[in-house]
Symmetry: D2
Subunit: 387 residues, 4 copies
C-alpha cells in the first residue's frame, strides 16, 4: 500500500478535519501535501455530500441534502515542478470503498432535481451493499453486478483567469432565467465553503469568488465519466504552479449520465494515484481539456439490451438534441423494466447506478438525434429479453 | 447463402431496377417480396445516395449530391402474419460489401452540412478500400482497422396515423426558421421519390405525403447506430399489417454520431436477415421504439484515447446540452490529431468513419453536460498517446 | 471481393479438378498460381475429406472415410520473391462457407479414432446449419452460437531436408508399436495421393516420399488452432523458393483440441488472404515455427463454465501429462452435460465444435498437470450452471 | 471490509502464529474458525514458502528454499452444514496484496526444478513491485502489466478414503523411478508439517499420513489456474463434514502453466470469500472435480503474439503429448524474446509471471499435439511484433 497523503475523517464534517480538503475551486486554496513526479500515493475521500446520507431505508436525508457542502474534495495536492502549460499525467492505480455500503439518490425537483425530474420529482434512495467487486441493494431486488469504480470528480485548480471566465459565463446563463427551479447554474456561495486551511480575509474573499464543484469544466472536475476507472491514465492541463490536483466523489459504480443526479453508487473510499509531468504538453499536443486512456480491468459484458431514444419529446421535435434523445432512451428503458417487476423509481435508480452505456448514435440526421442506452443483462438474476 | 430476396442493380438508378425499392416512408408503398417467420433471406442494397458517389480523388460528386434521391432502401418486405402491436424480431445474421470500396463524405454546408459544418463548410471525400474485415484509405494514410459493419437504416413502415404525426411535428419545427441553411428538417418531396411499383395517382399522392428517410424516428429508421452489427437481434414495433420491413444505408464502419453526415464508410452491400414475430409484444413489454441486443463479434479494442467535451461553446454555457458537449469532444480530438500529421479534414473524416465511441458522461451536473469521444488507438500504425 | 486464385469444384474429387490442389506435403509439388507480396487474393477450399461426408442423419459416411484422400489442400501458391530464411506474412482477411452447412464427426476407433476413442469407439456425426455468423444443429438441440471460423490447416512447403527429417522421426515412432490401432503415426502413402499437376515418374516418386497432412509440424500445417481466425496475421518460416503456401480444412468453428478428431465444424469455404515477406526474418527473430497475432473479431463470451482435469486416469498418476489432464477435463465436462439432457455423444461432439477453451493450468506441480476446459454458457438456450 | 477470519503473521513462521494454518492435506486437521452459508469473510495468507523469500537482488533464498514448509495454507474453515456429497459454492469476492511486492522464482533442478529445468537448471529470481493493479520489476525492464490476481491453491479437505487413494497412486508413481532428480512425486513428510492446532500423537500420525500440497488433485488444491480470479464462483466437491476449506498461495499474476515452478508473482495477501452450499450437488450434476465460472474483471488484452509448439523434442516425436508441445511453445517464445533484449532467464521468468495464455490446439492429429502460448503485447513498453 502506498503512503497515505490525505486522511478522511468519516465521522465528522470536513470543516473539522485535522487536514481539511475543500469544496470549491480556486487557485488560492493552499496545498498542504505534495508529491514528486514518479511517486505513488493514497488519498482517502469522504462521500461527496460530507456524510449527510445514511444507510437507512428512507430518503429524508436525500430530500434535505445541503448542496452548499458539496463536493467534499481531498486536496489540493502539489505536484512538484508542474507548471502552467504542462500536462499532469495521473495514473489511477486502484481504488476502493472505506465502508461496505454506498447509496444512489434521486434528488427532489426542489433541491437540484435530476435528468428526469419532471417525471420523478420526489427524493428517493437505494442503499447498496458491497461484496468485494460485487454489489447488491435491498431496495432493488434481483440485481447484482461488479462495480466499475471511479472518481466522479478529479482535476487541477483553475488559474485566476480561467476561474473568472467560468464565473462570467455561468452568471450569464443564470441571468437568462434567474428564478428557474431547478436553477440553470450555481453561482459562488460563501456559506459552507471549506477552503482547506485558508483563514481570515483571504478565506472570505476566496469563498466569494470560488467556483462551485457541480459542473465539469475545461479542467475536468466533476465529469462523472464511469470509464475513469482502475488503471486509467489521465492527461490534465496544468493551469497553476504545482498543478494543485484534487479528487473526490468516488463511485462504486455509475451508469453513463449519472441520471438521477446523485445517480452513481456514492461512497467514501480510497484511491491510489501515481503522477508524472509532460513539460509543455498542452501546446505540443493541442490539449485544452483532459484526455485519458481507460484502464484494462473494466467489468466486461457481452450481452446488452439497448434502448433507442430520439430527440422528440411530447410530440415535439428538438433539432439534433442529444440530451432529449438520451432522456427518451432512459424513459423507454424505465418503462420496459416496469414490465419485469420493478417500480419506475427502482428502474430509474438502477439506470443511474449500474454500468449502463449511453452512446451517441446519429447526431447529423436532421432533425433527430439518436442516442442509445444499453443495459448489461448479466446484472439481473433473471432473463430480461423479450421472448 | 440464403435465398436472395432483393437484388440491387448497382449500375443504374433505383428507379430503373426490375424490382425497385423506395426512398420515402409511407404505409402504402407495396411489398413485392415476402417471407414467413423463421426464414433466413438475403437483401442487397445500393449505397444510400443511389450511386452518385464514385471511387475518385475529388469531392465534386459529394458537393453536388442530390439528397432527394436518398436513402435508397431495399423493401418493403412483408413478414407474413405480423400485425400492428406485434414485435418484429429481426436477426442481422451477416452483412458485407458488394464492391471492394466505400467512401466517407463531408457534406457542404449548403447541401445539408454535418456536425461541424461551421468549421468544415466545404465538401470532402475519403475513399476506403476493403481488405476482408479491414479497410484503409489512400486519403487518410497510416490508418487501418476492422470494420464494425451495420445497416445505418432499418425499420418498418409507419401507420397512416404515425406518418401524419411525423409530418406535423417536423413541419412545426421547420416553421420556426424556414429559411435556415442547412434546414431544420426536410419535408415530404415529390421530386425523385421512388415508391416501389406504385403507379399513377396513388403514386403521386403518396409521393407528396411520404416522409423523408433522413431522420431516425420511433420506428427506428436511420438511427445510424454502429452497434446494430453482425449478430444483432432487433425488436421492432409493428405498425402495419405484414410489418413492411425495409433496410439500406449499409456501413462498412462508422464512428458514433456519424459526424460528417455521410460520415460512415458508405457501401453497397448485402445483408442476411432472419425474422420472427412476438405477438402482442408492444403492449406486453411497453415497447414503442426499437430495442436491440448487439451481436457478439464486434471488433474489440483495449486501448482508447478519450477526449472530453463539455457544453460550453465559444465562451457560452449551454444548459446540459449533450450535442454541444459531443461537438466539443470532437473538436478536441480533431485538434489533437493534427499534431500527428493529419489535416483537420482528415481527422474529421476519420472520426466519422472509424469505430470511435461517443459516450454520455454526466448530464445532470448543471449547467454542463459532459460527453466523451474515445478513439481506439489500434487503428493507427504509430503511437498516438502523449509522451 | 479479391481475385479468385483457386477454385474448388465441390461436385467432384480434387483429382478431377481443372486445377487440382494436393493432399500431401512435398517441395516438388508445383505451384500453378502465384502472387506478389502486397496482393490480396481469394482461395476456395473443399472440405478436408474431399467431399466424402454428406448432409445426412447417419454416420455411415464418417465410419467409412478414406483418410488417404485427406487433407484436400488448395495450393501451392507461389509468393514471388520469398526465399528460404524469410518470413512469409499471411493476413487472413476474411473467410466463409461455400455451402450453408458443415459437419462434425466422431471417427471410429478403427479408422483413426479421436481424443476419447476408448470411450466413444463408434462413428457419429452432427450436421450444422449456418445462419450467417451463427450455427445450430438438428442433431444437438438447444445450442446456437457464433462461429470462430478459421483454417485448420495452413503452411508452406517443407524443404527436402525438412521433409526427410519428418519422415525419419515419424517412422521411428511407428516402429515402437507398428500394429497399434489407431496407429501412432501415418507414413507416406502413394494411394490416392494428389499432387497438383505433377505427372509421370516424378509424380510417383513424390507420392512415395511426400508427408501426410494429418499432423501439425514445424511449418504449421494442420495445427487446428481455432484462434487463427479472421484478421489474424501469421508469420511463417519459408523453406523453399516462393514459399509455396497451401491452405485447407476450413472450420466454421472448433473447440480447443478438436477432440473428436474431425471435431471442428468442417466446411467447404473460401478464404481471402494477403501476403508479404520479411527478408531474412527467420534468423532475425529466431523463428523456426509459425508465430501469429490473432484477429480482433472473435466472438467474445463473458461467462464460461470451466472444468478442471488432472493427469490422473483410472487411478493412475501420469507425470505432468497435459494430454491426460485435458482428457479428464473433457470427460468431466461431458459427464456434466449429460445432466442437462444431452447424450454423451452429443456432448462430445459439442466440445469438438463449439468455441470451448482448453487452457494449460499448472504443469509444474509434480506429479499432476492441471488443464481446464471452459465452455461459453451463451451457446446454450437454457441456464447450465449448478444452482 | 468483511470480518477477518484468519490473520497472517508475516514476520514469523506459520508454526508460531496464534492461529496457525496448515501445510499438508488431511481430514483430521481441525477447523478453528467457521462460517455459515451466506456469509462474507476475509482470509489473510502468507506467501506459499512461509516467508523464505526476500525482496533482494540475488536468488540464494530461492536456491535454498525448504519445500517441506510449503504451501502455507489459511484454514481449514468450517462451513456449517456442508456435508459429503454437497457442492460448496465459493465466491472469490476480491483479493489483494498485504505487501507492495512479490517475486517469481526459477527453482533449481536439484530443488524441484521447473518446466524447463533442463535448460534453466539454476535458481533465479525476479522481484515485482505493485502499483495498484499494475506491476513492474527492476529485474525485467520494459515490462508493466495489470495483474490477474488469484489464489494458486484452494480446496476442501479430502476424506480419509480419498487421501488413501492419493497416497497410494503417488507412491506407485514414485516407485517407478525412486531416485529421479527432480522426483516424480512427493510423499508425505513429517518434518515441518504444520497441522493447525493438532497436538501430540494425533499430530504425529496425521503428519505421517497427510498429503503434500504440491499437486492439484480431485478436490482442486494447487491447480494454479490463473482464471480463478476476482469475481469467480467455484463449485467444490465436499468430502468431509463442514467441508473444511483452505486457501493460500496467492498470486498477483501468473502465466498459464506457471512454468518456472514458482512462476507466478507470489505474494502475501488477503482474499474475501463468500460461501454457500448446494445440497447433494455432486450427484445431481455428476461433479467430481471443481467447476468454476470465471469473474468478469480480468485484465483484457486485444493483441497477442502467439507461439506454436508441437510434440517434437530434439528430433523425436512424442505421441499427442501436450506437455512436450507446450514446452516447445515456451522455448520458441523465449528464443524470440531474446531478440528483443531479454536474457533467456528473464524471458522464462516473464512467461511464468505475465498473463500469457497456454491453449490446447489440436490433440488428435497423430502423432503431434499442438499447443500455443500467447503473450499479450501490451505488457511491453515497445513493439514486439516482427516487422
Amino acid at each position: 500500500m502506498p503512503k497515505v497523503l490525505f486522511l478522511a475523517e468519516l465521522d465528522k464534517p470536513m470543516a473539522e478535519w485535522d487536514l481539511p480538503g475543500h469544496n470549491r475551486w480556486h487557485p488560492e486554496i493552499p496545498a498542504q501535501v505534495g508529491v514528486k513526479p514518479g511517486e505513488d500515493f493514497r488519498v482517502e475521500c469522504q462521500e461527496w455530500t460530507d456524510g449527510q446520507i445514511g444507510n437507512t431505508d428512507d430518503a429524508a436525508d436525500v430530500a434535505g441534502v445541503d448542496l452548499s457542502r458539496a463536493h467534499v474534495l481531498s486536496g489540493p495536492i502539489a505536484i512538484k515542478g508542474a507548471e502552467p502549460g504542462d500536462l499532469l499525467v495521473v495514473d489511477i492505480l486502484d481504488l476502493g470503498p472505506l465502508r461496505s455500503w454506498g447509496y444512489t439518490g434521486i434528488f427532489s425537483r426542489t433541491n437540484g432535481g435530476g435528468f428526469l425530474t419532471d417525471v420523478f420529482p420526489e427524493a428517493q434512495k437505494a442503499v447498496w451493499d458491497f461484496h468485494g467487486i460485487y454489489t447488491d441493494s435491498r431496495h432493488i431486488p434481483g440485481v447484482r453486478f461488479a462495480g466499475l469504480s471511479h472518481p466522479g470528480l478529479i482535476g487541477c485548480a483553475p488559474s485566476e483567469d480561467l476561474l473568472a471566465r467560468w464565473n462570467a459565463r455561468e452568471q450569464a446563463l443564470i441571468a437568462t432565467d434567474p428564478g428557474r427551479v431547478p436553477p440553470l447554474a450555481l453561482p459562488p456561495l460563501e456559506r459552507n465553503a471549506v477552503l482547506g486551511t485558508l483563514k481570515g480575509a483571504a478565506r472570505d474573499r476566496v469563498a466569494r469568488e470560488a467556483a462551485r464543484t457541480i459542473p465539469p469544466r475545461e479542467h475536468g472536475g466533476n465529469v462523472d465519466i464511469k470509464n475513469l476507472s482502475c488503471g486509467t491514465r489521465i492527461f490534465f492541463p496544468v493551469y497553476v504552479r504545482d498543478a494543485l490536483l484534487s479528487v473526490g466523489d468516488l463511485h462504486f459504480s455509475q451508469g453513463d449520465g449519472e441520471i438521477t443526479f446523485c445517480g452513481a453508487i456514492e461512497m467514501a473510499g480510497w484511491i491510489d494515484l501515481g503522477v508524472d509531468v509532460i513539460k509543455g504538453g498542452m501546446a505540443r499536443y493541442g490539449i485544452t481539456s483532459p484526455v485519458f486512456k481507460p484502464g484494462p480491468v473494466e467489468p466486461r459484458y457481452l450481452e446488452f439490451l439497448t434502448f433507442e431514444g430520439i430527440s422528440v419529446e411530447e410530440g415535439r421535435n428538438y433539432y439534433l438534441d442529444a440530451t432529449v434523445a438520451y432522456r427518451q432512451a432512459a424513459l423507454n428503458a424505465i418503462r420496459y423494466l416496469t414490465h419485469f417487476g420493478y417500480t419506475a423509481e427502482q428502474a430509474y435508480l438502477l439506470l443511474g447506478a449500474a454500468p449502463v452505456e449511453g452512446r451517441i448514435g446519429g447526431v447529423v440526421d436532421i432533425p433527430n438525434a439518436c442516442v442509445s442506452l444499453a443495459i448489461p443483462t448479466a446484472i439481473f438474476d433473471r432473463p430480461v429479453l423479450p421472448v
